[in-house]
């Protein structure tokens, strides 16, 4: 079981990811509505893995990633991107993101990435 924090401004996406995780024995320890929320909650909930959306209000995923990596260089963060975001994802990977998944994703992809990263 992996303790996961989900960061996405869309409640719909959070719900989809959360259901995939919980149905497969993982625990969602926090849901964050934007990057700022994620940066604030990360030290509190200390997740083992973070699913981070990229385009969000208040603070974008890439900035949240950098802030969290500063706090905890061992943080495991997987970026949730869309088609057409190559450069941001590349930047994120260079800044310490463990992996990324591309929307639309299904349970197989999400679980595979957890298997690979953890």
């Amino acid at each position: 079981m992996v303790k996961v924090m989900i960061v996405d401004d869309a409640a719909f996406m959070r719900m989809v990811i959360k259901d995939i995780l919980t149905k497969n024995g993982h625990e969602v320890v926090a849901e964050c509505v934007d990057g700022l929320d994620a940066v604030n909650k990360y030290p509190e909930v200390k997740p083992e893995l973070v699913f981070m959306d990229i385009v969000m209000p208040n603070m974008e995923g890439i900035d949240a990633l950098k802030k969290i990596m500063e706090m905890d260089p061992a943080a495991k963060i997987v970026m949730c991107s869309s088609i057409g975001q190559q450069s941001v994802v590349t930047d994120a990977l260079k800044s310490g993101a463990q992996d990324f998944i591309v929307k639309p994703f299904d349970a197989t992809k999400v679980l595979e990435v957890i298997g690979k990263v953890m």
Binding site: C32, M71, P73, S82, G84, P104
Partner: protein
């Protein structure tokens, strides 16, 4: 993966984003230079794209993808914010709305035309794709000859190498680096990586491979170059040459841990003979950890909304259950007092308090801000005004006022109608306003305010108002009333003529208002909710419509009456007063019973007859009359007895047998467990 269970939340959230897009676009239209609007729209479109792609709604994701591209170009000042652009984007939003709506029906919406328009908008200003000339940087072509340059005991045979490092060009610098690496006891490995065909972000995937490779050694060369990889200028495979001390198995293992990798083929192209291959821990992790031991100062905690979405059906059920709970509580109270059980009193008092609290909480949880329907009106009024060549300032007040979800769902159409009337018939044309000395821009005000137990919504305009005389003429012309009848009406009553079925105030029926739903429909709907509509108007200065609405429809205040030993509930919203009369005071006009009450002729109806009850009241001399209002006129209902005022919980009659029954708004269960019907005055008489 079955996505159908997410449809509801997908729709709800999509609608929020559509609203946001609409609002931002309206804002952008006003302030074309404010990029924040574009940024917000970009984010919303992007989020919609991701959500719809996840649901498998490809049309939505295609459209939002292109909108996103267009907005990105606006952001980068490659496309100018023009009226044309705003119109295109509005069209996109309408189409998106239709698409989201069609999610349930699975209807196809054709977006080809719109896509073409979008492409034009993007191309009209600047080509989207422009291809960079990539410059070859390599100097030497030493195909098939790498191995010869390096001391090469234990390396692969020439033939094997060909397959792996074909077409690789090495510069002198790179050859130098290889030599040095080998001298330091490294192996030089050429790693061919083939990505999965399903891989979408190939560049990012290759970056991830390179990051992992660099943790195991030093990259000497990459084919295609790293820059080309980042620009996604490669097919599915790439080769990286690097110096490492890791064993092949570890290398393959590490790269295979990355998703979407189809194949990893390592080939040693140079190594120092005699040097034992040692597995070494990579340093990368250590150094990274050292880098950032410094604690990061936490910014102030941000408020996050902790909310869950609940299906409205759940809330309905909950409300129903609370109703049952209250009924049972009342029965318990009754039993306790019958039994005279003092011990029960305290716990019953507690139960009382708790059920009251639950009731309040459940009712509160059903309340939603009226903004949910108000927010779509700016766009509607804008479109209306534009199509009629009018200028209109829409002022919205009290959008934070909360109403029960059920009430809110019902008042959307009536409000649309009232606003359309205001813009269409109320506000004069620009020239007319100029001549009258009014400001060119018409004013439409939509305001909600909380009264004690109800919400007041006002729709006001500063247009031409209504002329009672004109309304009388129309009523006669349409054959609704005779000239005699209308002449008897007071000016205020004449205004109420517009609520008569078949009456339309417009001289010319435009395509905007006067489409079937008349003012009578508005009034019927509001009254069915237990509310009321009032109208006032000053010719030349404008009109104001006042809708009074109950906070909730689940629980209503009722007057309990009996007819032939049956108890009925009359919603208090309909009741004007009750009076006792003598049978001898009843007069007959044209065979119908009436009574003079405070100087007015009040038609009487015997509830006993309407409900076709069997037994009649014994005392036929002293009658009790409940005066109710229907369509602006008063009617007296003769009942057997008044039981008093009570809060009743409505149980709707929505099963197949009963739902077409007229005259009843529903049923309720009384404290003693008996069922009583709630009269619906609008359809009963």
């Amino acid at each position: 993966m079955d996505m159908s269970e997410y449809k509801e939340i997908f729709r709800a959230e999509s609608e929020e984003h559509l609203q946001q897009l609409n609002d931002s676009l309206l804002g952008l239209e006003q302030n074309p230079n404010d990029l924040e609007y574009i940024n917000t729209m970009f984010r919303s479109a992007h989020t919609l794209k991701g959500m719809s792609a996840t649901m498998g709604f490809n049309t939505i994701s295609e459209l939002t993808h292109e909108m996103e591209n267009l907005m990105d170009m606006v952001r980068k000042s490659q496309v100018e914010v023009s009226n044309g652009l705003i119109d295109i984007l509005f069209e996109c939003l309408d189409t998106l709305e239709a698409l989201v709506e069609a999610v349930d029906s699975g209807e196809e919406v054709d977006i080809a035309h719109l896509q073409a328009t979008l492409t034009q908008a993007m191309e009209g200003n600047m080509p989207v794709e422009h291809i960079k000339n990539s410059v070859a940087t390599s100097i030497d072509v030493i195909q098939n000859e790498i191995a010869k340059d390096i001391p090469d005991e234990g390396t692969k045979t020439q033939a094997e190498l060909d397959t792996v490092i074909d077409n690789i060009e090495l510069s002198d610098n790179e050859k130098q680096a290889m030599q040095e690496a080998v001298n330091d006891g490294n192996r030089v490995v050429s790693l061919k990586v083939i990505l999965d065909e399903s891989c979408v972000l190939k560049s990012a995937r290759s970056t991830l491979v390179l990051i992992n490779v660099s943790k195991m050694g030093d990259i000497i060369k990459c084919t295609p170059t790293e820059a080309e990889l980042e620009d996604e200028k490669f097919d599915l495979d790439f080769t990286v040459i690097f110096a490492t001390k890791s064993a092949d198995d570890d290398i393959v293992g590490a790269i295979r841990k990355i998703s979407e990798i189809k194949e990893v083929v390592p080939t040693t192209i140079a190594e120092n003979s005699g040097v034992e291959e040692k597995q070494q821990e990579t340093k990368a992790v250590d150094t990274e950890e050292k880098k950032s031991a410094s604690a990061v100062k936490r910014s102030d905690a941000v408020k996050s909304i902790q909310s869950v979405r609940v299906n409205i059906e759940r809330l309905d059920n909950l409300m129903n259950l609370v109703g049952e709970l209250i009924i049972n509580k009342i029965r318990l109270n009754q039993l306790a007092s019958d039994l005279n059980a003092k011990d029960l009193d305290e716990s019953l008092a507690n139960l009382d308090r708790l059920t009251n609290e639950i009731q309040t909480e459940v009712m509160e949880s059903r309340m939603v801000p009226i903004d949910q329907i108000f927010s779509r009106f700016p766009r509607m009024v804008r479109d209306l005004a534009k199509s009629e060549g009018k200028q209109i300032n829409l002022i919205i007040e009290g959008k934070e006022i909360e109403l029960d979800r059920t009430v809110l769902d019902e008042i959307g159409d009536p409000l649309v109608h009232l606003l359309r009337n205001a813009v269409d018939h109320g506000i004069e044309s620009e020239e007319e306003r100029k001549q009258l000395g009014k400001p060119v821009a018409g004013l439409v005000r939509l305001a909600a305010s909380r009264q004690r137990n109800s919400v007041l919504i006002e729709v006001e305009d500063d247009g031409k108002g209504m002329e009672p005389g004109h309304l009388r003429d129309v009523a006669v012309k349409k054959g609704l009333l005779t000239r005699e009848e209308v002449d008897k009406l007071s000016d205020n009553d004449a205004l109420n003529l517009i609520f008569m079925p078949g009456f339309s105030g417009a001289k010319v029926v435009t395509d905007i208002s006067g489409r079937g739903v008349g003012m009578d429909a508005v009034k019927t709907k509001i009254e069915a909710l237990g509310g009321s509509v009032k109208i006032s108007s000053v010719p030349g200065q404008g009109s104001i419509m006042k809708l009074q609405l109950p906070l909730t429809v689940a629980i209503i205040q009722s007057l309990m009456v009996t007819v032939s030993d049956e108890t009925y509930a009359i919603p208090l919203g309909n009741v004007i007063r009750d009076v006792g009369i003598k049978a001898s005071d009843i007069k007959t006009i044209e065979g119908k019973e009436v009574i003079m009450l405070r100087g007015e002729v009040l038609p009487l109806l015997r509830l006993h007859d309407i409900l076709e009850s069997s037994t009649e009241k014994e005392d036929k001399q002293n009658l009790i009359v409940v005066v109710v209002e229907k369509m602006g006129s008063n009617i007296g209902l003769v009942v057997d007895d008044l039981l008093g005022q009570q809060e009743v919980i409505i149980k709707t009659l929505d099963n197949k047998l009963l739902k077409n029954m007229k005259g009843f708004a529903g049923a309720t269960i009384l404290g003693d467990g008996s069922v009583s019907l709630i009269l619906d005055i609008a359809t009963l008489i």
